[in-house]
Each structure stands twice: as structure tokens, then as C-alpha cells.
């Protein structure tokens, strides 16, 4: 019986090769997209869930508004953790973390490392790690202990037997390896290579509540509610922060609040950090819940489109088989048996599609990994439930579409006994109509979305950065050069090199350095500025644009008390004539503005350009040497610089990057998401077109007799094609009306994520509408052409 069914099913599939091909490929592509998206989404959702008791672990942060300045981020101060441990019984553990980057050395192996963290000794009570050697309880108990990961052990010692050996930090501190642990899994917001005891951090005993550059993680006792904890957390503001404000800045906290300001602590569940926290002070490259939602929606849409197609195509094909069914029924085949055969066939189809989808996924995953910028693996053996979920989805798809087709078909009457049945029923028409409108709405939505994403990408690419990123090489560790002035002169004497600048940061790295600037006339307001300190060649080397004033000049000695600010800074301070204005930095000496530079995009376009202050050289610790060279032989120039580097330093790793790569990396994630989105959108549109093909063939089938009659009455081929298009066009227009406002809403929401964004202009909507109309007309006309051109008798015979 089953065998017989299989035989018949395969024969039917084979008989209608084109149909089977379209139907199977549509569903296979759809399923493959879904599987890939599902892998991506489940990976994003898995972040930090491997930590034991992760539901009890939170990261603390500050949310504050002082005048114009609003900030929110995971920065807390030194005394936070000890205070919580002593005053809050519900806090089981509290761990402080502070980032550091240093040069690490074992004999001739010298590298500068930036994933080094000072952490409290209870670190491993919060963060789970797999110890290869060493004891979690004692690994960070003593001064100058160091925990390293396996890959660092291999990098510096060549094997994992590192315990007891020591590494030199910044050329003068010896740290002893107390434990070697497995590398952090990729799905955590916090990746580290080295851990060292917090009390070795020079300012670890600083008790000032406003010095907030550290991370604090807490583990709460089971059953503690986050909202209760948060409420209690904020008693710390009045108890500790308010007095600090008073003593250090002479600010009265009550007055400050009355003026509409606030200062609050908050906690964020650790497993939420990856998708929900977007501070510029994150420990890693976080994801975005918006992308997860977006891709989930796309996956669902793709699946729905694929299912609708499958149903439509099955029904379309089945009406071809109406006659066969009529005969079968009149020969006594029961309704249930017919339904069974149909279900069987469509499930078989969906299983074939599923198999193909799995194969597609295996081939495409490596590509998507590049596209998304993260490794995804299907790994069905480790995740058997994944396999079964998708198997279930495909069987359900087959079942669903099969059921519809089966009931639709088995309701065909072998003889048209009752006149009423001549009309296929208004319900059927309504259903068909809604399916088309639904599909079209999705497609048009995706068109609009894709165009918008594309436009934003274009916008980012074309946006003037405020500096010139090409042909600039940046050396790290430049502070270790014995005589920077002479080094600069030396390399600049080579013809390929144009200029160089010694500075604390390069655009793209303006991460740290919130300061409170103040106008000299004792404006009580505080302003948050990013800051860099740079020598007089900074503007020349990076091609910063001056709006007014001048840049630093080496020969003017008084320039050591002069500064430049950017346009955002002028706006922030509310200056109309910034040149010669005097501002103060904290409590230090006053600084006079000598120039204004154009805003510099040194961050993703999601964030607004912050006020920036360029301080004279050596006001900050400077570690970067940016070198502009003539386009051309990059490698020769690198060789020259490296040679000179070795003349000017001892045992310092020669590390560099190209400025354009740095900037590219900054937007890489953005591009990746956009490209991935567009790819999936295009695929789902492709599936929708396949569906349209099916649907129009279905409609043509259904109306073939009408076509015959009309042609008998003198209708031309063009009339018929026009008629067949008319309905669809009406439906497309409705779809445009439905999807445009939705797309407008969602895409402007999406664009709001960018402080610098393209406009959602009307052309995107017009183009999407026209494109979908064009696609529909082409598809339908191709379908109808054959039916309209055949002899009317052939259509009339169709019953």
C-alpha cells in the first residue's frame, strides 16, 4: 500500500518535471534560508549562557544626565563592589574588572596584547572557565599572579605547560602563571587572554565614587528580583555619589536633580549584554537584538512565502489532474484515499526539499560565515533537536499545503450535478486573493527594505569622514621609540613618506576619554568631550579640515596652552565665535581655542559625533605614530619603517595597522548585516516570484475555459493577457498600499539606529512598486501567453 503510494507519487513528480523543480527548489531555498537564519539567531541568543547561574549574574552601570550631556554605560567606580559586598546581603559575589593593554614578553617572544584584565580574585565564582591546570580558588590570590588562556600559553611558551613560568609585562613586571584555561568560547561578550589580580592595578585602592572607568559584575542570591535590587542600588547614589559630587565638584545633588538632571545605577543581566547593550565601553563587539528580530522576521516571512508557494503550486498542478481525480472517484476511490495520496505526495516533496536544503546549508554556511563575520556551524550531531525542528517544519509544510490541495481537489465533482458548483466558490477566490496580496505585500516590503539598506550602505561609503584614511600607516607602541622627534625626521627623509604625527589616538580609536570641560567664565554646566593629544603634524598627516583658526605650530611656544575643538564641540559649548575663547579642563590651567576642525567620523555611523578636543602634544600619554606615505609601494615603505624601528627601539614588537583597515573594521559589522539582509531579502523575493509563477499558472488553469469562450467571442491575445494581468495588478496596488506604510514605519525605525543616515525618499517606494509590477506582469504574461495563443477549441475542451 505505502509502496504503491510511493510509486505513484514519484511517477507524478516525474510526469510534471517543471512543476516539481519549481516547487522543490522554492521550498528548499526557503528552508535553507530558515535553517541558516535559525543557526544565526540561536547563536546570538546563546551568548553568555554557558556561565553557571548566568541568570543570577548582572553587570552594573550608570545612567546620568548632567545638563546637555546624557550618558549610559557599564562604567562603575572602584568602591562599588566592596560596598555592595559589605552592605547588600543579597549580593553573593561582586567582581571588578579593568582593561589594560601592555607589551608581554617571554624571552624573544614579544607582543603587545590588549585583552589583559585586572580582575578580583573571585572572578571564577562568576565567570565559568575550563581549567587545564591551576586552581580557580587560588589563581588570583597573590600579587603578580597571572591566568592565561591556552592559545596564549601556546603563543608564548609553545606548549600548555606554563604553570610556574613567568611573563614580563611592559618590560619590568614579572608575572607568574598560576593557571592555564581553555580559550573563551566565541559566544561571550567578554573575551580575555590574560587575567591578573585587581589589587595589582595601581589605582585599585582609589575610593572616589566618580572615577568610573571600571566594570562591576555581581552575582545575586537566588530569588533576588532585579527590580528590587536596582531600587536598593540607587540608595548608593544618595549615600556615596552625592557627597562625592559635593566635595569634588561642589555640586549639590538635590539641586542637580531639581534642575532636571539625574544620576542612577542600573543592572543588566549578563545574558542580555550581547544583544541589548550598545555602549561605546563594551568589552567586546556586541550584537544587536534588532538584527535578531529582523532576521527572525525574515525567516518567518521566507517560510510563509515558501509554504504559500508550495500550496499554490500544488493546487495549480492538481487542477491539471482534475480529470484523473474525477475518473478515480467515479471508479470508486474513496475521498480519504485520494486525500491520503495527495498528502503523501506533498510530504514526499517537502522531504526532498528538506534534504536539498540541508545540502545547500552545508555548502552555503562557510560563505555566510564570511558574510555575517562569525562562524556558524550546523552541527546536527551535537544539536539533534535542530535537525528535528527543521524536519518537523518541512513535514508540517508538506502537511499543510497538502491538506489544502487535497481538500480542494477531492471536492471536484466528477459530474457537475448541481449548477451551484459551477462557480468555484467565492471563498476560494477570496483565499487566493488574500494569499497573493499577502505575498506581494511581503515582497514589496522586502524590496523597500533592501533598497533602504542599500541606500544607507551607499551613504556610509560616500560620507566624508573629515579625514583621509588612505595611505596612512599607524604604528603602535610609538611611546617606546627612544627619540620620537629624531625618528620622525629620519623616516620623513625617505622620499616615499610624506609626513608623520605622534598622538594619543587616531580617528577610529577615539574610544576613551570623557572629560568634563568648563568654560572659563565659570559656566556651571559641564561638557563631555572626547580628547586626544597630538603634535603639530596631526592635521597635515591625517588631512583634517580646518573650519577656522589654525592648527598647532611648532615654533609658537605658547601653543602648549592652546587647543582645537571640532564643530560638535563648538555647538556643545554654544560658542558663536570660538577662536580665542578660553576653556578649562577640569581644575587644570585654562586653554585657549585656536582653531576648529570639521567633525571627524571616527566611530560607527550609529553614534553621533561627540565633541572633541585636540590638546597640545604630550598633554596625554601618546602611543600612536601615524605615517602618511605616497600611494604605491606599501611594502617597501613598511620595510624602511621597520628597519628604522629596530634602530630606535629594543625588544618592542613592531606592530602597525593601516588606517583604512581600521575604519573598514569599524563598519564591517554594519556592512555584514546589511549584506546578509539584502541576500536573504533577494532570496525571499526569488521564492515569491516562483510563487507568482505558480499562482498565475494556477489562475490560468482555472480560467482556461473562460479564455476559450472569450476568444471564441472575438477577444485578441492582448485582451486576454490584459485581462489576466488586471486582477493581479489590482492586487499589487492593494499590496503596495499595505506594505508601503509598514515598510516606512519599520525602515525609518531601523534608520533611526544611525545618527547619520540616508533619507527614506519616495523613490525607494516608487521603484519597489514599479519593480514588483514589472515582475508580476512579466511572469503572468509569460504564463498567459501560451493559454491565450492556443486554439480556442483546446481551451474549450478543457473541463
Amino acid at each position: 500500500m505505502i509502496w504503491n503510494n510511493i510509486k505513484i507519487a514519484f511517477r507524478n513528480l516525474w510526469r510534471d518535471k517543471i512543476f516539481s523543480l519549481i516547487n522543490i527548489s522554492g521550498l528548499a531555498i526557503g528552508l535553507a534560508c530558515c535553517i541558516i537564519i535559525f543557526l544565526f539567531v540561536s547563536n546570538e541568543l546563546s551568548y553568555d549562557k554557558y556561565h553557571k547561574d548566568y541568570q543570577q549574574i548582572y553587570r552594573l552601570g550608570i545612567e546620568a544626565k548632567l545638563g546637555d550631556m546624557e550618558m549610559k554605560g557599564p562604567f562603575t567606580s572602584n568602591p562599588m563592589a566592596p560596598t555592595l559586598l559589605s552592605e547588600f546581603p543579597e549580593v553573593e559575589e561582586a567582581v571588578r574588572i579593568n582593561r589594560s593593554s601592555s607589551i608581554i614578553q617571554n624571552e624573544d617572544k614579544i607582543f603587545s596584547e590588549n585583552r589583559i584584565f585586572w580582575v578580583d580574585s573571585t572572578f571564577f565564582k562568576l565567570f565559568s572557565a575550563n581549567f587545564i591546570s591551576g586552581n580557580p580558588a587560588q589563581a588570583l590570590n597573590e600579587s603578580k599572579q597571572m591566568v592565561i588562556t591556552k592559545s596564549m600559553a601556546l603563543k608564548f611558551f609553545g606548549n600548555i605547560e606554563a604553570i610556574g613560568k613567568s611573563l614580563k609585562v611592559n618590560q619590568n613586571h614579572d608575572y607568574t602563571i598560576s593557571a592555564v584555561i581553555e580559550d573563551c568560547p566565541p559566544n561571550t561578550h567578554f573575551q580575555f587572554d590574560f587575567l591578573i589580580p585587581y589589587f595589582d592595578y595601581p589605582q585599585s585602592r582609589d575610593n572616589f565614587w566618580l572615577n568610573d572607568g571600571k566594570y562591576t559584575y555581581v552575582k545575586l542570591k537566588k530569588g533576588t528580583k532585579q527590580s528590587d535590587f536596582d531600587k536598593k542600588l540607587n540608595t548608593l547614589v544618595t549615600n556615596y555619589v552625592a557627597p562625592a559630587l559635593k566635595s569634588a565638584l561642589n555640586i549639590n545633588y538635590e539641586d542637580m536633580v531639581k534642575a532636571g538632571n539625574y544620576y542612577r545605577f542600573y543592572s543588566r543581566p549578563m545574558s542580555d549584554i550581547h544583544l541589548h547593550s550598545h555602549s561605546t565601553f563594551e568589552l567586546g563587539n556586541n550584537g544587536d537584538i534588532l538584527n535578531v528580530t529582523l532576521f527572525t522576521i525574515i525567516a518567518i516571512l521566507i517560510l510563509v512565502i515558501a509554504c504559500i508557494n508550495f500550496t499554490n503550486l500544488s493546487t495549480a498542478r492538481s487542477s491539471k489532474r482534475a480529470k484523473e481525480i474525477g475518473v478515480r472517484k467515479s471508479l470508486g476511490s474513496s475521498k480519504t484515499r485520494l486525500i491520503f495520496q495527495f498528502l503523501f505526495e506533498s510530504i514526499l516533496l517537502s522531504l526532498i526539499a528538506f534534504t536539498i536544503a540541508m545540502i545547500i546549508v552545508e555548502f552555503v554556511l562557510p560563505i555566510t560565515s564570511v558574510l555575517i563575520g562569525k562562524e556558524l556551524s550546523s552541527n546536527y550531531i551535537n544539536n539533534p533537536h535542530l535537525f528535528f525542528i527543521f524536519l518537523g517544519i518541512s513535514i508540517a509544510t508538506g502537511l499543510l499545503s497538502g491538506t489544502y490541495a487535497a481538500f480542494f481537489l477531492s471536492s471536484f465533482k466528477p459530474v457537475k450535478v448541481l449548477k451551484g458548483e459551477l462557480s468555484k466558490g467565492k471563498n476560494n477566490l477570496l483565499l487566493r486573493k488574500s494569499l497573493v496580496i499577502f505575498q506581494f505585500s511581503i515582497s514589496i516590503f522586502l524590496f523597500i527594505a533592501t533598497f533602504t539598506v542599500y541606500k544607507q550602505m551607499q551613504f556610509i561609503q560616500d560620507k566624508k569622514l573629515g579625514f583621509e584614511k588612505e595611505n596612512v600607516l599607524v604604528l603602535k607602541n610609538a611611546d617606546k621609540i627612544s627619540n620620537i622627534k629624531s625618528f620622525k625626521e629620519r623616516i620623513q627623509s625617505y622620499p616615499g613618506i610624506i609626513s608623520s604625527t605622534f598622538a594619543s589616538a587616531i580617528p577610529g580609536e577615539f574610544l576613551n576619554g570623557n572629560i568634563i570641560g568648563r568654560k572659563a567664565d565659570l559656566d556651571p554646566n559641564q561638557y563631555s568631550f572626547r580628547r586626544i593629544s597630538a603634535d603639530e603634524d596631526y592635521q597635515k598627516t591625517l588631512h583634517l579640515e580646518l573650519v577656522e583658526g589654525r592648527f598647532f605650530n611648532e615654533v609658537i611656544a605658547s601653543d602648549s596652552s592652546k587647543v582645537l575643538i571640532n564643530e560638535a564641540g563648538v555647538k556643545e559649548l554654544g560658542l558663536t565665535n570660538p577662536i580665542e575663547e578660553v576653556i578649562a579642563r577640569g581644575v587644570t590651567r585654562p586653554l585657549t581655542i585656536i582653531g576648529v576642525v570639521k567633525d571627524i567620523h571616527g566611530d560607527t555611523f550609529r553614534n553621533k559625533i561627540l565633541p572633541l578636543i585636540i590638546l597640545p602634544k604630550d598633554s596625554e600619554y601618546q602611543t600612536r605614530l601615524a605615517i602618511r606615505y605616497h600611494a604605491g609601494n606599501k611594502n617597501a615603505i613598511l620595510g624602511i619603517i621597520k628597519k628604522e624601528w629596530n634602530n630606535y627601539t629594543t625588544n618592542i614588537p613592531f606592530e602597525y595597522y593601516h588606517l583604512n583597515n581600521l575604519i573598514h573594521d569599524l563598519h564591517k559589522k554594519e556592512y555584514a548585516t546589511m549584506r546578509t539582509f539584502s541576500a536573504f531579502a533577494c532570496l525571499s523575493i526569488l521564492i515569491a516570484i516562483l510563487g507568482l509563477l505558480g499562482l498565475s499558472s494556477y489562475t490560468t488553469e482555472q480560467r482556461i475555459k473562460e479564455i476559450g469562450i472569450r476568444k471564441t467571442l472575438g477577444s485578441s491575445v492582448e485582451d486576454i493577457i490584459k485581462m489576466m494581468n488586471k486582477d493581479f495588478l489590482q492586487w499589487i496596488l492593494i499590496s503596495i498600499l499595505i506594505s508601503s506604510p509598514l515598510a516606512y514605519f519599520f525602515m525609518s525605525k531601523w534608520l533611526e539606529n544611525f545618527a547619520y543616515r540616508a533619507n527614506l525618499d519616495i523613490w525607494i517606494f516608487i521603484a519597489s512598486g514599479l519593480l514588483s509590477i514589472l515582475i508580476a506582469i512579466t511572469t503572468i504574461s509569460i504564463q498567459t501567453w501560451k493559454a491565450a495563443n492556443q486554439n480556442p477549441v483546446e481551451s474549450l475542451r478543457y473541463e
Binding site: 451551484g420 469562450i709 476568444k711 471564441t712 467571442l713 477577444s715
Partner: protein, 256 residues
């Protein structure tokens, strides 16, 4: 004398030609499906005069409908030639055939072939739309013909809401609304009871009397008695042509 005779002959030929609407010569139709080849028509030679009422009879499957479809330019013959209104239409494309059909030929089918989604009025209006008439002209014509067929009270109904006889009257109304020169009817009474059948036949007779050529396929001897001539088909061949009576029609329709 000789010259006179020749001239007379030529003249006669010419007038004959004018009088003849349909000439088929060695008409063949072969249907090919994947497995079998059916020869539906075999060397059919027919002349049908303008204004004639011809009936085609024969057993089922003998090719009656096939012949009618070819005559009606709904299908192409496989072989032989077909001259319609003095034009050789054997090798015309579907597009050209559509052009010939439009307004010249009305069809009546056994199964009515009305469009379910359209009302009676819209069904009848359809051929006029394809002829490119304005809405007001169409309205007048449709109402007139619906009146004539005694069905105007059903103008807003859908086909399924009508009886078989009423549906066939609508089909006839649709066939004649363009004032065609030729009406082709394939078993027009096949799905009707005898009183409705008689009514339809009377309508056809009336149309014929007003000058329209009618070719009708039928199984019923009674219906065939309305015709001037009965053509018997058997196995795709014409086996006999019986004249019932002399053709005596006065107003022959204008040519197109």
C-alpha cells in the same frame, strides 16, 4: 455562341461564388496525442450557401464538432483548404482568424459556455466589447437582443441562477448580438427538454429567415427538420446530403 456560353458560364460561376459562404476542399483533421493518432475528418468537401440552414448529423465521435470548429475558425484543418467568404483562411494565424471571427460568426454550444463570473448582460455584451463599440451602443444592442430572446428580466442574474433553457437563450443572444453572417450551433438543444428545445429551434429558424446562415450539429431528427439540408457524417466523411426543400430566401445579407 461559344463565346456567349463561356461568358454565361463564367457569370454563373461568379454569382455562385458570391452565393457560397463556405467551401471546404478535401478537409482533413488529424489529432495527435502521445499514444494515438485520430483522424477526425477525412477529405470533407462541403459547400454551404449564404442564407442556408444546414444540419450536420452523425454518430458520436464522427467528427461533427471538429468540422464545426474548423468552419467557425476556432481550429485549423490538418490538410485540405477552407474558403470562407471568398477568402482562403486555411493557413491563417490565430490572430487573423480572430479578426475574421469577430462580429461575423456567432457560436452556440451544447453546454452554453457562459462565463460564470459575469451577469447575463455582461455575457451578452462581451463580443460587442471586443468589437470596440461604445458603452451606450452596447447597452442599446444588448437590451434589444435580450428583449428579442425574452430574457431581459434576467439581465442582472448570473448564469447559474437560470434554467437550462434560459441559459441557452442567453447564449443565443450572445451569438446574435453582433448580427453575424453565420451562426454555428453545436447541439444547441442537447441539454434542454423538448419544449425548451423547440423554443431554441424556433429562434434559430427565425434568425435564418432574417438572412443569417446557420450551421447546426444535432442528434435529433426532429431538429434537423428545421434545416434546408442535412449533411450526414460518418467516420470523418460526408456520406450523404439530403435537401429537405428548395432554398428560397429573399434578403441575402450584405457582405462584410
Amino acid at each position: 455562341m461559344q463565346f456567349y456560353l463561356a461568358r454565361q458560364l463564367a457569370l454563373e460561376k461568379q454569382t455562385y461564388k458570391l452565393k457560397i459562404m463556405i467551401i471546404t476542399k478535401d478537409l482533413c483533421k488529424v489529432f495527435r496525442t502521445e499514444e494515438v493518432e485520430t483522424s477526425a475528418l477525412h477529405d470533407v468537401n462541403l459547400h454551404i450557401q449564404r442564407g442556408e440552414f444546414a444540419a450536420i448529423m452523425g454518430p458520436s465521435g464522427c467528427g461533427k464538432s471538429t468540422l464545426l470548429n474548423i468552419i467557425g475558425l476556432l481550429d485549423n484543418p490538418s490538410n485540405g483548404s477552407y474558403i470562407f467568404n471568398n477568402t482562403d483562411v486555411t493557413k491563417k494565424s490565430e490572430k487573423q482568424r480572430t479578426h475574421f471571427r469577430k462580429g461575423n460568426i456567432g457560436f452556440i454550444f451544447q453546454s452554453f459556455n457562459l462565463i460564470d463570473e459575469l451577469t447575463v448582460f455582461e455575457n451578452v455584451e462581451l463580443p460587442l466589447i471586443y468589437m470596440g463599440l461604445t458603452a451606450s451602443k452596447r447597452k442599446a444592442k444588448v437590451n434589444e437582443v435580450l428583449d428579442r430572446m425574452n430574457i431581459s428580466h434576467r439581465a442582472k442574474h448570473y448564469p447559474q441562477q437560470l434554467s437550462g433553457g434560459q441559459q441557452q437563450r442567453v447564449a443565443i443572444a450572445r451569438a446574435v448580438v453582433t448580427d453575424p453572417n453565420l451562426i454555428l450551433a453545436d447541439e444547441p438543444t442537447g441539454n434542454l427538454d423538448s419544449s425548451n428545445g423547440t423554443e431554441v429551434m424556433e429562434l434559430l429558424k427565425e434568425l435564418n429567415h432574417s438572412g443569417t446562415t446557420v450551421v447546426m450539429v444535432t442528434h435529433s431528427v426532429r431538429d434537423s427538420e428545421y434545416a434546408d439540408r442535412v449533411i450526414h457524417l460518418f467516420d470523418g466523411k460526408v456520406v450523404s446530403e439530403n435537401k429537405h426543400k428548395q432554398i428560397k430566401r429573399e434578403p441575402i445579407k450584405e457582405e462584410l
